[in-house]
Symmetry: C2
Subunit: 361 residues, 2 copies
């Protein structure tokens, strides 16, 4: 048995997903050593609060202490360069070396230059962050120029969405349409409405249960779903921008300026209109679903009535669903369904991408 | 733009799937050149009727003529060594070279030695053939010793089953159960029974529509489903043999010796017992499904009543379904669903595996 090959890993974003990734890597080390003959070694952890770098790999003690501190809300230490705000480019210069893999678990645009630099150096890049692929088409093309980019976690978390679509396309299939429900939060809202809950009660429950972002308008606005749809659309080589997607926002613009408590109080006014939409759908044997649809060069995202007896209509709770229609999947689509969010399944998707890249090296 | 790298491909089995693969490779060449910088080049086509080898790659004309002839039922030409029955080992010696990928689209045990030799030489191997992985556990382990083996097409054809399970395991998830419907033929039978068709009418219709093998007992025996289940079980490192799986055969042993027309005639005697099973299930709000279940170290395959309002209960027609239950997918499983057979989707799965292996080289 040969000694496992070291693969240096640089992590941008040490939030819930980033920390779950570190834990998963450590827990799976013996499997990786015996089956894949490799050992993933974190050489840099970096977020807005600082960065820690050790080009020989952070020791178990250092890493554990850091993750515990981060979980408790303590900032990372200063950057190696002494600046208080770490610059991802500098982290990359200090920590990067042959065969490195850079992970982006942030939700920021600021990492883009460093990620492109990493790809330019021949490093692997794994994205959970949707922003690098949902900026301009020109930037998207820059990312796609490298064969060492992976981004399975950006749509459906751990569900096999990106890889499935990539395989369909690489095998020459003609994808004619993609439709699905890409938001567990909005799936929960739709299920609750279907059961007779009022809009305001459903939104407040989702907020209380932690299904929404701290500001629920970040989910209700639909832009997160639109970004996921844009990533899929662009894989089909349709050069759309985010602004080309028709997005239905589930609250009126007049409520944008309120504080979160004010917003949660004021949405009672939406109960009646939503109840009427739900009833109109049910009268037709349909259910409302927040659906993304990609078809004929266009993309739209919004609340739509769908037949109760369809895959989307049967979807319940926070599960995601994605259906691929293609020349080879014409009579019946290829469907993937399951939980599409959560730190553990998102981290698992990133880890699978890391391993695929490490195998290329 | 660099010149695409040539990847030599050796194909065992020039039936419907093998021929679809050749067509798909040719049709996707420009995408492969521009996106993946590689060109798949068939250097040998081989089946029981003969073999054709050209280490520089078969010319378009040669290949087209051969495929047309094969479609019409004409044997391939003699082997390069002059023997009337081509020996896969010899084909491999003649045609193999660095970076080669060997495809097994046969349904035979005879290719095993050549496939293991190919892996030993560092070649890639892609299986649509389930037999190499469903012989003895010891042989299975020999195949798994190589990182250059792929076999997505063996379960669910083009559906992302093997890769999904591999990713769950490599990311350290604990898979607790797998259940599903892995036979489109038996799915059709179950749907027809549910609609009130008699067993004999449903089997005859499936046979007439070409959903079954030429001898429908090859489907009704359940061994094809058992082999798929065994492949999944073994991925969990459970050292089971095919004989350890409990398999329900959907016809009595007394009908084994009959000719196909005799068999199709005699199965009327099964109409009443199956009608009673269907009615008993329906009285409980359930439907019969031919289900494979992997749980707690055991595996069973057979006709089971499942709730109508469950993923398996809602499954209709020839679609396959597979549900993975794991530590991270505990509340709700990861589900993949869609057509799980057919030459085009099977060939597409093989092609995706070829490309993944080619990227490693």
């Amino acid at each position: 048995m040969s000694i496992p090959r070291n693969v240096p890993v640089i992590l941008f974003g040490v939030g819930g997903v980033g920390r779950a990734l570190v834990r998963q890597v450590l827990a799976a080390r013996s499997r990786h050593a015996s089956r894949l003959h490799l050992r993933l070694e974190f050489v840099a952890l970096c977020d807005r609060t600082g960065a820690v770098v050790d080009v020989h790999g952070l020791s178990d003690d250092t890493r554990s202490a850091l993750l515990a501190a981060k979980s408790a809300g303590t900032p990372l230490r200063q950057t190696p360069t002494g600046h208080s705000q770490p610059d991802p480019n500098i982290i990359l210069e200090v920590a990067g070396r042959d065969g490195a893999i850079v992970i982006d678990c942030t939700a920021s645009d600021d990492t883009c230059p460093a990620l492109l630099m990493a790809l330019g150096q021949g490093y692997g890049v794994v994205l959970a962050n949707k922003r690098p692929l949902t900026g301009s088409w020109a930037t998207y093309r820059q990312f796609m120029a490298s064969p060492r980019l992976r981004y399975e976690a950006t749509v459906g978390a751990g569900l096999p969405v990106i890889g499935t679509l990539r395989n369909l396309l690489d095998a020459g299939d003609q994808v004619t349409a993609i439709e699905g429900a890409f938001s567990g939060t909005l799936g929960y809202l739709c299920s609750q409405l279907q059961r007779g809950a009022s809009y305001s009660a459903a939104v407040r429950a989702a907020h209380r249960l932690g299904y929404t972002e701290p500001d629920p308008r970040d989910d209700l606005g639909g832009m997160d779903v639109a970004r996921k749809a844009l990533i899929l659309v662009r894989m089909l080589d349709w050069p759309l921008e985010l602004t080309d997607i028709t997005v239905e926002t589930l609250y009126p613009a007049a409520l944008s300026g309120l504080s979160v408590p004010q917003f949660l109080e004021s949405i009672k006014v939406l109960d009646e209109p939503y109840a009427m939409r739900v009833q109109a759908a049910q009268a037709q044997g349909q259910a409302l679903r927040y659906r993304a649809e990609v078809r004929e060069g266009r993309c739209q995202v919004g609340m739509e009535p769908v037949p109760l007896d369809s895959p989307l209509g049967r979807l319940q709770g926070t599960d995601n669903l994605i259906a691929f229609h293609s020349a080879r999947y014409a009579a019946s689509p290829l469907v993937v369904q399951g939980p599409g969010a959560g730190v553990e399944v998102t981290a698992a998707a990133i880890l699978a991408d890391i391993l695929a890249l490490a195998a290329l090296a």
